[in-house]
Symmetry: C2
Subunit: 147 residues, 2 copies
């Protein structure tokens, strides 16, 4: 069994996709994360759902969680709604890091190792430079336990 047996089509977002739209995609399609592609459709980054959420937060909350605690409910709602103008571009990490991207011939063990190492519940599958889709943690675990 190879990545090509487990891969399914997967929605993508671009660098200039608004954060609100990315969050909506995640929620409506019940996705574990999103694939960010360049203008040629090649994966630039894989964002786990928690990191899409991070985009919607004021940075001071990430730096100091005590601040999230003291901000009252009304303020919190204001912050979470003020996503206008923020795009996926701002979510990309400054430093390059290992991306959960592999080829169609990757084995189950390779897929599982990539997910575990990169803490990503999805792995993008690229074939000859073009995105074929993704293998999700759910699809992989289902297959591993023989469902």
């Amino acid at each position: 069994m190879r990545a090509s047996d487990l891969v399914t089509e997967f929605p993508t977002v671009a660098l200039d996709t608004p954060v609100g739209e990315a969050a909506r995609l995640l929620a409506e399609q019940d996705l574990p994360g999103l694939i960010v592609v360049d203008e040629r459709g090649r994966p630039l980054s894989i964002l786990p759902g928690t990191q899409v959420l991070r985009l919607a937060l004021p940075t001071y909350c990430i730096d100091d969680p005590a601040l999230a605690r003291v901000i009252d409910e009304a303020h919190a709602d204001v912050f979470l709604r003020s996503l206008a103008g923020r795009t996926v571009r701002e979510a990309l990490p400054d430093k390059p890091r290992e991306l959960p991207v592999t080829g169609p011939d990757a084995t189950v063990l390779e897929l599982a190792t990539l997910m575990a190492r990169t803490h990503s519940p999805l792995v993008a599958v690229v074939d000859g430079g073009a995105l074929r889709g993704a293998v999700t943690l759910q699809a992989l675990v289902n297959r591993l336990i023989g469902q």
Copy 2:
């Protein structure tokens, strides 16, 4: 809106739960992760799905992903099936780290910050020492975008 409005019952595992059973629970119930509880039902750890998967892998793959690449398909299947005797206990990190656990009064902003900081798609909600359940990333994002 508070954690108590978003919390749902959530399956738990114990330290001596076999890894195979944990993986099955994750797959069958389509969960983003698992809550590990002590003998009194209090959360000891929250394991994202990717870290449950990690349990099912030989450690040399995590340390050196090139090895996952050179092991052929037949071997990979053997490793992934040889889970007998491994338990959730082995998944707990050596060093204590910030756990995504909060009280029923946590605001949406606090929940979102916890998920983003700890890279966990679920937050356990504890009330007076007892586990009430969890808020999932999915439930939180759905609420944030007004679905």
